[in-house]
Amino acid sequence: MSGHPYLALGRKAGGLLPNRWDVLAVPLILGAVMLLLQGLHQAAVPIGEIEGGAVSLDPSNLPDYALRTTLRMLAALAASLVFTLIYATLAAKSRYAEMILVPVLDVLQSVPVLGYISFTVVFFLSLFPGSVMGAELACVFAIFTSQAWNMAFSFYQSLRTVPRDLDEASHSFRFSAWQRFWRLEVPFAMPGLIWNMMMSMSGGWFFVVASEAITVGDKTITLPGIGAYVATAIDQRDLSAVGWAILAMTVVILIYDQFLFRPLVAWSDKFRCDQTASQMKPESWVLNVFLRTRFLTNLTSALGTGLVALEDLWLRLVPVLPALPVKLPAVDDRVWWWRALMVAMDVCWYALVVAGGAWVCWQVVDYVATAVTLDEVGQVALLGLYTLIRVVVLIAVATVIWVPLGVMIGLRPWLAERVQPLAQFLAAFPANLLFPVAVVGIVTFHLNPDIWLSPLMILGTQWYILFNVIAGATAFPNDLREAAVTFRIQGWQWWRTVMLPGILPYYVTGAITASGGAWNASIVAEVVSWGDTKLHATGIGAYIADNTASGDYPHIVLGIAVMSAYVILFNRTLWRPLYRYAERKMRLG
């Protein structure tokens, strides 16, 4: 009955007899299973049905489309989770793997999400010739690329910061590597991982619209889903259809928030490591219903027991994984030849990594050079600069607007409680649905697209600034506020000496996310169309988007490489130092 502590939702309550909570919960589960089966069934149809415009703008199709889009996103999320568990674990456990995997992850994270699509579509289509499966996989992969990296980073960070006493306890009780992973490391990483999954899911929506209707060169794939529906609506200038799509998306986001993430967050609260009773315990009515059921909790603990029994069996069959080698710091230093061997291995590995990196770079340069002149590289760098200016200005504008508002809201708990979920919802809401409105506006008023398309880049990601600042202001120590009042610190001095330093770490966290999102969004936001009207801003995002549409691979590679370089540079020279500064300065003691 013990079960994995984090599989067993509840504790024994006697008997398998359903109680009144089961009456509410069982239909919910059965319904979810039915929807899942239906969605999967549709993925197996032949590809002929989806080439060309198979998407109908009749709103009655929307529930079905919404279901399929959601399933794709969940599939991508599941893939991201598996990727995270493997990739981050490797990076954290092996010094040699870490040397490669962490920088690679850093680069992967900075590559614009849509940059991946152009390269993978053809590959996935060739995997399942003649079936929708290939296109589906391409789409899921595109969403995966928008979700996986931050999850992997979060998990890696958690693995590196397992508290020392728990680490020693697990050694001293001689946990095997397997037990250690599931009993200590995964639970410890859980809250951060779930928070990042929520962020990933939000980010994913933005790219669903782009990845369900993919055009790469002469290949156009339209998968039935909300994203394709929106794309078609934009193509046909159908504003009411866009409205219906917005409504459907809102409903879907609310549903998975209530039924998936809120329960997950409430449940993962028990994995928090700080032992103080938390002041605001996350609640979920769905989780509460399930915890009160009798039949379902017993079923889940029975399943948990079964899983543990299976695990026991597996541990017994696998010739006993020895208690993991404890890190014995002094042991390896004892014999000189061992030390020499270690140094030699380090040197070899370094050489190998450098050689491999050089080879990859040379390959890329070689490939790009087939169609690109040095002149062009300079031009693309200039385009990158334009986009950089946009990002900087937009972050500054968003900061000026949202920091004061966020502080005002955060200092009023009753207001923060209402606004915070709204801000999180807005962050999850794909801003590209509002692009048509912007296009109509720009065309009607004859505005300069170079300026007026820019706000679209930050439309979706500015909310991260808002809700991080709210969180910071909410967490601001009350005694400091009272001290400020008693010393009558007011006006600008109050902002400068009291509030801004207090929320700085939170603000930086939000701004990093927002700026990363803005870079990513530039590909979608610098070229926007509404039927035949196509607005075009000058920037590297537009450059990548245009070349993707025409299937010009060397130029796509160039654009992506330049943008990645900008993002990495931007993070290294601005955000990371700022973050370290904020962390250092704001700690007391």
């Binding site: 001293s172 001689r174 009993r183 028990k270 032992q275």
Partner: protein
């Protein structure tokens, strides 16, 4: 409790040495020639000040650290990692916050492959033994500190270890809770209810060691060594007020102050310290002033017995000692044989006003603390009177471990700031002199003007 079944030692450390190579060459010795033999039926205490290597020794026994040299054997077999017959209780409890009390206790059995029914039974038995029944389904965050540590004990006991290791298990608890837990534990041990053969306890509390142990091994600092082995001949339950008990506590106090006694100023040497890289205790100037004031007043009149003083001030030896040592280093007092005796400068200090105190403190710093004098000299020698922390840090790390170097530098910063000898910018990590300091004006004249 005497060693009854002592034919073969349960655990043996012979010539254990633990050293880490230092970046500047040479090595930092944490443990040197430690020999310990544990036999069944005894509670052994490792007593020492922080940094004396007693926790490292415990981790060597636990198999968490392998020493640089020396042999470690458990029941005659060399130790190569955590042994099945050894369980550990942690200072910070080290409970898994996501597991209930019952699950935490079961976790101790997890690696042994015990069938789940038996696992449950044994865990429930351990929980009942340690007085936690009723709390099985609680999460650690719902429990008080004392209850949490009981879970730690139950989790260690459930594996029926031969040897129970305890790493300052009571020091994170308040006085009453700690006493309650100690008494319960000793009672269970005396009645033979604990499924263990021997206990190894790390502590910095002299009274705690004398109260619980059959044998106390006193560690010396830098490098860690077993300085003395003291048998405790009393029967449980022990009475803290028994004169023999007090006498033993006093003796151990005297023993632990011996190092400072032997380093009293030698002839031809100005102060206690000999070089810039001598470790400084990290004690704030306010604490020093506080102790000076206390000692100049009645009933001490400039002289006190440390154990008595510790009890009057409700401080552990580990808290009181660094303060007394700092006074000794600064030549405001002499430490010897567990006594502290103020020097004339201490009375001058106690009677002076704030500025006078700072000035006197500054004079003593420059005279008796080579590191502070060195920093000040370097700053005066530079045209802009600024020097980065990195100018001094490597000099310390040549001879001290990283954490000691950090502590020493922090003490030098805080003392120097108090005496207005120099300032320090923590963001930029730069030492500097303020203008009036350079001219050698009395520190604090600005404040006079302001007041």
């Amino acid at each position: 409790m005497t060693n009854g079944l002592a034919n073969q030692p349960l655990f043996e450390l012979v010539g254990v040495r633990q050293a880490f190579p230092k970046p500047a060459g040479g090595e930092l010795v944490v443990l040197d020639d430690v020999n310990i033999t544990l036999r069944a039926g005894e509670i052994v205490g490792l007593l020492g000040r922080s940094g004396s290597g007693k926790s490292t020794t415990l981790r060597v026994v636990a198999g968490l650290i392998r020493p640089s040299s020396g042999t470690v054997t458990y029941q005659g077999v060399p130790v190569r990692g955590p042994s099945p017959g050894i369980a550990m209780v942690f200072q910070s409890f080290a409970l898994f916050p996501w597991l209930t009390v019952l699950e935490n206790v079961e976790a101790g059995l997890e690696a042994l492959g015990v069938p789940s029914r038996e696992k449950r039974q044994r865990a429930e038995a351990a929980i009942e033994l340690i007085g936690l029944d009723g709390f099985e389904s609680a999460y650690p965050r719902e429990l008080s500190g004392g209850m949490r540590q009981r879970v730690g004990f139950a989790r260690a006991l459930v594996v029926n270890p031969n040897l129970l290791l305890m790493d300052e298990p009571f020091s994170a608890l308040d006085v009453l809770t700690a006493e309650n837990l100690r008494t319960d534990l000793i009672e269970l041990w005396s009645e033979g209810k604990l499924p263990i053969k021997s206990i190894l306890l790390v502590t910095h509390g002299i009274e705690e060691a004398v109260l619980m142990c059959d044998r106390v091994l006193v560690f010396s600092t830098n490098p860690g060594r077993v300085r003395a082995e003291i048998p405790v001949p009393f029967k449980h339950p022990r009475n803290r007020l028994d004169p023999a008990f007090r006498k033993l506590v006093d003796d151990i106090y005297a023993l632990m102050t011996q190092r400072t006694q032997t380093t009293a100023p030698a002839s031809g040497q100005v102060g206690v310290l000999s070089g810039i890289a001598d470790k400084l205790p990290q004690v704030s100037a306010n604490l020093l002033a506080g102790l000076l004031e206390t000692l100049t007043a009645a009933p001490y009149q400039g002289h006190a017995d440390l154990p008595v003083l510790a009890e009057d001030l409700q401080m552990e030896v580990d808290e009181l000692f660094p303060i007394a040592e700092a006074l000794h280093i600064l030549r405001f007092a002499d430490l010897a044989e567990g006594d502290i005796r103020l020097l004339p400068a201490a009375f001058t200090f106690a009677e002076a006003d704030t500025d006078g105190r700072k000035e006197l403190f500054g004079q003593h710093l420059l005279k008796y603390v080579p590191l502070v004098a060195h920093i000040r000299r370097v700053l005066e020698g530079r045209p802009r009177h600024r020097a980065p922390r990195l100018r001094f840090e490597p000099e310390l790390e040549d001879q001290l471990s990283e954490s000691y170097a950090e502590e020493t530098l922090r003490a030098a910063i805080s003392w120097g700031r108090y005496a207005v000898l120099y300032t320090y910018d923590d963001q930029a990590e730069i030492f500097s002199l303020e203008e009036e300091e350079v001219e050698g004006a009395e520190p604090g004249s600005q404040q006079d003007a302001a007041a």
